[in-house]
Each structure stands twice: as structure tokens, then as C-alpha cells.
């Protein structure tokens, strides 16, 4: 039930960002950008412990009155951010986790494509379709 899905590279520039088009996309871009700070904070906090213990799923980054932002970071510091509308029936944590897993696996598939240069924006149709599936459910 995502309203916006974003994939951010290690250097904190977006590889892929997509929102439900009806909404003001700029607002989501901004939200995702601010959420990066929270991600960094969480990553560094946990990072003190052994890397093994660092979980990929970061959980709720921060809620606002309109929506909630969830984060997930891969081992290569690629971040996935999902913005969910609060008005929706609140999704269970597991559902969010499964969404991230799907994203991660789909992202891995994109990476495996030899024609994809890491650092390029993601233009894969299959990735798009998976993201659409996630976003469509919500609305």
C-alpha cells in the first residue's frame, strides 16, 4: 500500500523514485530526502554493533500526520524507502517487511542484468511492475 517507493543509492542520490501520480510528487521527493537523515542515524546507531546484528529492515523511520515512512537498507548501503498513507488501514509490520523483501529481490535482479550499470537509474520494466503492484494495492 505504498504511496511512494524510492530506491536511493549509496551516495544518497535516487536510483528510482515513484509515487502515486495523483499526489503531489514533489512532496514525496522531499519526504524521502528528509528520511535519509533518519536512515543514516539508524544505520550508524546499529553499526556500532557487529555487522551481523545489523538488520536490513529499519522499520518506521518517522510518522507524520499524513503518512508513515519506512526504511530498509541493504548491505551495500542502497536504501529503500516506502511511504505509506496513514489513512490506510495500518499495515502490519510483516507486510512492510515483505514489501521490502520483494523490492530487494527485484533490485537484485536488476543488478544481475549485465546491461545495467550500477549507478544508473533503474529502468527495468519488471522492477516497475513490481513497484506498481505494491502501489496499486494501496490505492
Amino acid at each position: 500500500m505504498a504511496v511512494c517507493v524510492a530506491v536511493i543509492a549509496k551516495e544518497n542520490y535516487p536510483l528510482y523514485i515513484r509515487s502515486v501520480p495523483t499526489q503531489n510528487e514533489l512532496k514525496f521527493h522531499y519526504t524521502v530526502h528528509t528520511s535519509l537523515d533518519v536512515v543514516e542515524e539508524k544505520v550508524s546507531a546499529v553499526g556500532k554493533a557487529l555487522p551481523d546484528q545489523r538488520e536490513l529492515y529499519l522499520g518506521l523511520l518517522y510518522p507524520t500526520e499524513d503518512y508513515k515512512v519506512y526504511g530498509y537498507v541493504t548491505n551495500s548501503k542502497v536504501k529503500f524507502v516506502i511511504v505509506v498513507d496513514s489513512s490506510n488501514t495500518s499495515l502490519r509490520d510483516n507486510e512492510i517487511r515483505s514489501m521490502f523483501r520483494k523490492l530487494h529481490s527485484s533490485f537484485t535482479d536488476v543488478m544481475c542484468n549485465p546491461f545495467y550499470n550500477p549507478g544508473d537509474t533503474i529502468q527495468s520494466k519488471s522492477f516497475d511492475s513490481i513497484v506498481s503492484a505494491m502501489m496499486v494495492q494501496s490505492s
Partner: protein, 783 residues
């Protein structure tokens, strides 16, 4: 509209046509434009087309649904056969030939073909295929005719029997062909499908088309026709692709290819009306295989992504499209291409070069076979005969469960394996819960897996996941500990002198982590023991064995049964610091009695002990008191009730342990308490283990009169274990854990200490003796 009954052949043909018209991929509606094109290609007059449209109900609905489409096709067949268009005749006319459509790029051709009356088309049972413009007079048009048009250049090639294909045809010659066709004998009408219009394949500039003609027209019935179509369409005239492959008997199609992308594309597109455009012909496949070999000589091997990238970049397609093609064709997402994947990718490249749009998902015919199927055609019904690639057995297995499992089972997520692993992966997701061995990998220390059937419970999967998350040993089923005991015992025995049986023993019951896993396979317990045992010797030498994995308290809620929780809680407690949740009822009888006994039996412990005791005076005072106790208690602390037996193997260890444990014991409890029966008070549970220890102590110290008691108690203990109240909270666990750790450390150090002291003693003695000798000799030297 009345219901329509179609023969199999018709059904297949119509559905293919429908798919062809279904450009929006809606599967329900054929786009009007396409349908009308198709109807026009049927060479019927406009008003007939209109009539048909009306009859089938499309005008009513405004669009062509599947049923309307089928009805329309049937009506077209009727019309083409010259029969009056009537709804009633839809089902009544038997043996109606399939509607024929003409694919005519060339207006001329159409005109030409139109010239020929339908009557000639009567009765051709030939399957209709979008043929080149011009109709095919049924039988007469055998391949020759077809060929004729094809062989424009060599127009005079009356060689009907041998479908010669001239690589280059030019449209203008088609009329020529037509002229000829009349003459043609239906060369091989029987085996050569009475096909279709041989008219012109103008677009077939390349010989390909010609070859296609041959092959294709081999169709007496759909399959070959389809096949040929396929081949035609599939072999876009990219430069080196071999042309079609003739499926029919007489094909002599020579391969051609010249690329005239545009025309062939057009034809192909139109032609692919009812044919799956994505089939790979044998020749194409052969070509692809050859190409594959140039990159990777081993046909069962993989082409790595980088090599594939270079190869396909040569085709000059835009990277984005190549990327899409890759996504489609790399079935197992492993970054490498198998032969099948490579063929699919190559095919897509070729199609794209010829102007085909890339599909959104991989067409079935291109899907790599997960299992090695017999490639021979005729997999399904007749129409399918010609297809060169067998249908895929298994659909791609990217089940949604896989991603979720991937994290948990990284070792299974090897997508770059052969196809077999693909299915294994899928199956593994279902079999995870069945196989014990899946749990073993979670514990890296163990190499051996004790095969134990897993009980399936609802929480099984979860438990497995939990298991994976922590490398902790799992609970053993309440009943299983008993079973586990023997194996544990044997293992313990083997290991001998294990200092920290506690951990291992504890594992037997261990609830170290998973409270939830009530039915953890014994194997995990066993393996855990082994790992601990394995580490204990090292632990002795260096550091204490790794602390038990953290208990997932959160998981507590998942425990299947109250009893289990209780058990595990109790066990864990016991394991941790010897403070097992044994029934408080069991009095620490052994303690007081043992304290009284101890001294006498010290020697049993071995040489080290006396020395030890002498050297560690501070410990001595307590040692007597603790003598057996400490041993027992310590062990009790260390081990669960189970391991007591094995633990005692190491006498030295015992001794050292005793000494050290004394300290630890002392720390934990006042010596006084130890001496007295109250010793048990601080730790009600320990007595239990102590009792167990007693059992083993029997071997070491004969004097344990309590032992019989204890041994009798042991079974009681065991029995009670199950009923250990949950009262002992986890709050003790932390303390117990730390206590145990400290004890272990103490043990190690104590042993070391004792050994060193022994050595010191020896050295001192030597020194003394040497000095004495020196003294004796010195006077001599003086003298």
C-alpha cells in the same frame, strides 16, 4: 448468437487469430482495427465483411469479443467457401475449411489474388494461414505455387516438386507466379499441404520467404502451416539467420536470409495471426546453438553476463532494449545464460531487429525448459506438431515465497545453478518444514546432523526461521530429551574430559534460545552439544566456550505449550547457572552429606589435587567442604541434569573444577550454606544436578552413600523436570549465565593453576636434589 462448436483445428486456429488481433492483450476483445484488417485479408468483399460483422454480433456490441470473433471467422470460412452466410449454417456445415486470410503487403498481389475466384479455393482443407497475397487455390496450390511466387527471380521454375527457393523475389513477378500456378500440378498435394495461395510473397525479398513457403505450405493441416509461418516470422531476415525450416516432407528450403526488415516484418506481423511468432525453428535454433558455441563451447554451461552483453551489443540495439531482453530471457536471474536462455535472448534480439515489439513477458515458447523435455514435436494436439520448442514444463518459479525464504536460506538461493535447482528451490520452500537437515546449517559448528524427523506444527516454519536467525540450539521436545540423552551421553563420552558439559548437557534440554520451538529436532540439540563439546576442550585451554545464544524472550509467546515453556524455562535455568528450576522440593541432601565425606575422597581425584590443594591453601579450607559438593554443584551448575554422567569423566577436570568451583560456589553461596544442608537453599535447582553428579561421582568416589539416594532421586528429578514450575523466571537466567561463565573461566584458570603449581613443585624438588648433589660433590671437589 447461437453457440458455436468448433473442431479442434478450428479452435486452435481461431484462438491464434484472436491472439493476433488482440493487440491490447486484453484476452477478451480483439481490436477492431486488427479484426477488420484480418477480414479484409480474407479477400471478401466489403459488404460481405459488413454482413459478417453484423451477424456475429459485433456491431451490436461494438467490439469483437472472443465469441464474436470466432463466429465471424466461421462466417468468413463460409463465405470463402461460397456458401451463403447464415447463422444456422455455422454449426451445420461440416468440414468447413478454415478461413483463409491473405497477407498482402503488396496491393498488386491482392489484386492479383482477388482475380482468382474463390471457387478455386473450394475445399482446400488446407489450413489457412495468412499467406501472401493471393489466394491459394486449394489443392492446386501446392508448394509449387507457393514457390512460384517465391521464386520470382527464377520464374521459370516449374519445378514444382522441389521447392526451390530463390532468395530474391520481387513482387512484380508474382503475377508471373500466378500464371504459373495454374499449371502446376499439385505437386504432392497430398503431402504438400494444399496450401494456400501461392501467390506472391512479395515481401519475401529474401529467400527466406520462399523457403518458408515451402515449409509452410507443407501444411495440410494447421501444424505444418503454422510451423512454417512460424519459421518465417521467426526468422527475421537478420543477416545471418538461417531461414526457416521446412517441416513438411519436401522441404528443401535453403536457408536464406537477407534482411529486408521492413517487409518481412510486416508479413511476419500479419502472418503471425494464428501462429505463435515466437517459436524458434530448428534452423534458427541450430544457428543460435552455433553462436552459443562460439562464446561457450560447452553447451551445458553458462554464458556469463559480460560476454553476453558484448555479444548482444553487437546487434546495435539500444541498451535499454537489450536490458529488457535480458530481463526477459534470464529466466533464473542468475546473471548468466544457459543455452535455452541464450536462444530465447537471441530470438528476441532478432525479432526486435525485425521490428517486432518486445513482449512484456517471455513468451511460452521461449521459456527455457526447466526439465529436459523431449524436443520432438507433437507435444499436444496436431496444431502444435510443428513447434520446435516444446512447451515449458514448469513455469518460472519465482514464487513469492522464495524471496521471503531467501533471506533465511541464503544457502539455497543459488539462482545460478542449473535448472534443476530452480525446481529444487521451489520445492524446498515447501519441504523446509519437513526436513530436519535444514536446521543443521544454522549451526555452523556442527558438521554432523543427527537425523531426526521433525514434527510438523503450525509454528514449525516460524520456528525454523527463528532457528535460522539464531544459531542457538533449539528446544527438544519434552519427550525427546530422554531420547536425546543417550546420544548425548555417547557423545559426551567420546569427548571425554569435557569441561563444560554443562553447556552441552544443558543443551540437551536446553532452552537456551528458543522457547518457542517445542519440537526442535533432537538433532539440533545433539549438534549443539557437539559444538559445545567441541569447543570445550579449547575452552579449557583458552577461553570459555562461547556464551549461549541470547534467548529470544520475545519468542516466548510462541511456545507451543505451557508445559514446554515450563520445561524449557526450567531447563534453561538449570543449564545456565546450575540454577535449574528443579522442584524446590528436592532438598540438597547430597550437599551436607558430601561435605562430610569429601576429604577422604580427595585422593581419588588424582595427584594434582593434593598438590593443588596444597598450593592453593586459600582454596583448601573450602575444598574439603566443597570437595564433592563443589564438584557436584559445579557440575550441576554447568550441566543440565542429563550430562552429569558423562561429565565426570575428567577427573582432573573434576579436581580443578572442584577447586575453582569451590570458589565460584563460594561466591555464590556462603560456604556455610554449602556445608550445611542449606547449601541447597540458594539454589534449589542445583541439588538436582548435584544429584546427577552424584551418579557419576559414584564412579569416582565410592563413598557417596547418598548416591544411591541420589540415583534414586535422579529419576525422580528427571520426572520432575517435566513438571518444573515455571516459577523460576528468566530473571535468574542472566545471573546464571554470568555465573556459569565465570565458573567456566574459573575452572580453566584453576586447572592451569594447578598444573603450573605441580610443575613448580617438581622443579623445586629437582632443585633440592640438585643442590644436595652439589653439596655432596663440593667437598670432594675441595678435596
Amino acid at each position: 448468437m447461437e453457440s458455436l462448436t468448433l473442431s479442434d483445428v478450428e479452435q486452435k486456429y481461431y484462438s491464434d487469430l484472436f491472439v493476433y488481433c488482440d493487440v491490447d492483450n486484453t484476452k477478451k476483445v480483439a481490436s477492431n482495427g486488427k479484426v477488420l484488417d484480418l477480414f479484409r485479408a480474407a479477400q471478401l468483399s466489403n459488404d460481405v465483411v459488413l454482413q459478417i460483422t453484423e451477424l456475429c454480433g459485433a456491431t451490436r456490441l461494438g467490439h469483437f469479443g472472443r465469441s464474436q470473433f470466432y463466429i465471424a471467422l466461421k462466417l468468413i470460412a463460409l463465405a470463402q467457401s461460397g456458401l451463403p452466410l447464415r447463422v444456422e449454417s455455422l454449426n451445420s456445415v461440416k468440414d468447413l475449411p478454415l478461413p483463409r486470410f491473405v497477407v498482402g503487403k503488396n496491393e498488386q498481389e491482392s489484386r492479383h489474388t482477388a482475380m482468382y475466384p474463390d471457387t478455386e479455393n473450394q475445399g482446400p482443407y488446407s489450413s489457412v494461414i495468412p499467406r501472401p497475397p493471393g489466394r491459394v487455390p486449394a489443392k492446386k496450390l501446392s508448394t509449387h505455387e507457393v514457390i512460384q511466387p517465391c521464386q520470382l527471380t527464377s520464374t521459370d521454375n516449374p519445378d514444382t516438386t522441389s521447392p526451390v527457393v530463390s532468395p530474391h523475389q520481387s513482387p512484380p513477378t508474382s503475377p508471373h507466379a500466378w500464371r504459373k500456378h495454374k499449371r502446376q500440378a499439385s505437386g504432392g498435394a497430398v503431402d504438400r499441404p494444399p496450401a494456400v495461395a501461392g501467390a506472391a510473397w512479395p515481401p519475401f525479398r529474401e529467400a527466406q520467404p520462399g523457403t518458408h513457403c515451402d515449409g509452410m505450405w507443407a501444411s495440410h493441416s494447421p501444424p505444418p502451416v503454422q510451423e512454417s509461418w512460424v519459421s518465417f516470422t521467426d526468422t527475421p531476415p537478420s543477416s545471418t539467420l538461417p531461414a526457416v525450416h521446412p517441416s513438411s516432407a519436401q522441404e528443401s528450403t535453403t536457408v536464406r536470409t537477407v534482411a529486408s526488415a521492413a517487409t518481412t516484418n510486416e508479413i511476419q506481423r500479419q502472418a503471425s495471426g494464428y501462429e505463435d511468432p515466437w517459436k524458434i525453428t530448428d534452423e534458427q535454433r541450430q544457428y543460435y546453438i552455433n553462436q552459443f558455441k562460439t562464446i561457450q563451447p560447452d553447451l551445458t554451461g553458462f554464458i556469463p553476463g559480460s560476454a553476453a552483453k558484448e555479444f548482444f551489443t553487437k546487434s546495435k540495439l539500444p541498451i535499454l532494449e537489450l536490458s529488457h531482453i535480458w530481463e526477459l530471457s534470464d529466466f533464473d536471474k542468475d546473471g548468466a545464460l544457459t543455452l535455452d536462455e541464450f536462444c530465447a535472448a537471441f530470438h528476441l534480439v532478432v525479432a526486435r531487429k525485425n521490428g517486432y515489439d518486445l513482449p512484456e513477458k517471455l513468451p511460452e515458447s521461449l521459456m527455457p525448459k526447466l526439465i529436459d523435455l523431449d524436443d520432438s514435436a507433437v507435444p499436444e494436439s496436431a496444431p502444435e506438431v510443428g513447434f520446435s520448442s516444446s512447451p515449458v514444463e514448469v513455469t518460472p518459479n519465482k514464487s513469492p515465497s522464495m524471496p521471503s525464504l531467501n533471506q533465511n536460506w541464503p544457502e539455497l538461493n543459488q539462482s545460478n545453478e542449473q535448472w534443476e535447482t530452480f525446481s529444487e528451490r521451489s520445492s524446498s520452500s515447501q519441504t523446509l518444514t519437513q526436513f530436519d537437515s535444514n536446521i543443521a546449517p544454522a549451526d555452523p559448528d556442527t558438521a554432523i546432523v543427527h537425523p531426526v524427523p521433525i514434527r510438523m506444527t503450525p509454528s514449525k516454519i516460524h520456528m525454523q526461521e527463528m532457528e535460522l536467525k539464531r544459531t542457538a540450539s533449539d528446544h527438544t521436545h519434552p519427550t525427546s530429551p530422554l531420547m536425546a540423552k543417550p546420544p548425548e551421553l555417547s557423545e559426551e563420552k567420546k569427548l571425554a574430559a569435557i569441561k563444560f558439559p554443562g553447556s552441552t548437557v544443558g543443551d540437551g534440554y536446553s532452552s537456551s534460545d528458543s522457547f518457542t520451538s517445542d519440537q526442535e529436532p533432537i538433532s539440533s540439540a545433539v549438534t549443539r552439544q557437539r559444538s559445545h563439546s567441541g569447543t570445550s576442550p579449547e575452552g579449557l585451554k583458552a577461553v570459555a566456550p562461547p556464551p549461549p545464544p541470547p534467548r529470544p524472550h520475545a519468542s516466548h509467546s510462541r511456545s507451543s505449550s505451557l508445559d514446554m515453556n515450563r520445561n524449557f524455562t526450567a531447563v534453561a535455568a538449570g543449564q545456565q547457572a546450575g540454577v535449574v528450576a528443579f522442584p524446590p522440593a528436592v532438598p540438597p541432601r547430597p550437599l551436607p552429606t558430601q561435605t562430610s565425606v569429601p576429604h577422604g575422597h580427595r585422593p581419588v581425584d588424582g595427584d594434582g589435587l593434593p598438590a593443588h590443594s596444597s598450593t592453593s591453601p586459600q582454596q583448601m579450607p573450602e575444598q574439603p567442604n566443597f570437595a564433592d559438593f563443589s564438584q557436584f554443584q559445579v557440575f550441576a551448575v554447568e550441566h543440565g541434569p542429563l550430562c552429569s554422567v558423562q561429565v565426570e569423566k575428567g577427573v582432573d577436570a573434576a579436581g580443578a573444577v572442584r577447586a575453582t568451583k569451590n570458589d565460584t560456589q563460594a561466591e555464590e553461596r556462603t560456604p556455610a550454606t554449602v556445608n550445611s544442608a542449606k547449601g541447597s537453599t540458594p539454589l534449589a535447582p542445583p541439588p538436582k544436578p548435584v544429584r546427577r553428579r552424584l551418579k557419576s561421582e559414584d564412579e569416582l568416589r565410592p563413598d557417596v552413600e547418598d548416591h544411591p539416594q541420589k540415583s534414586s532421586v535422579v529419576p525422580g528429578v528427571l520426572a520432575t523436570q517435566a513438571s518444573i514450575p515455571r516459577s523460576i523466571g528468566k530473571d535468574k537466567k542472566a545471573i546464571q549465565a554470568s555465573i556459569r561463565r565465570n565458573k567456566e573461566t574459573n575452572t580453566v584458570l584453576a586447572r592451569l593453576n594447578s598444573e603450573l603449581q605441580q610443575q613448580l613443585k617438581d622443579l623445586l624438588e629437582e632443585r633440592i636434589s640438585l643442590e644436595v648433589q652439589l653439596e655432596q660433590l663440593r667437598p670432594f671437589s675441595h678435596l
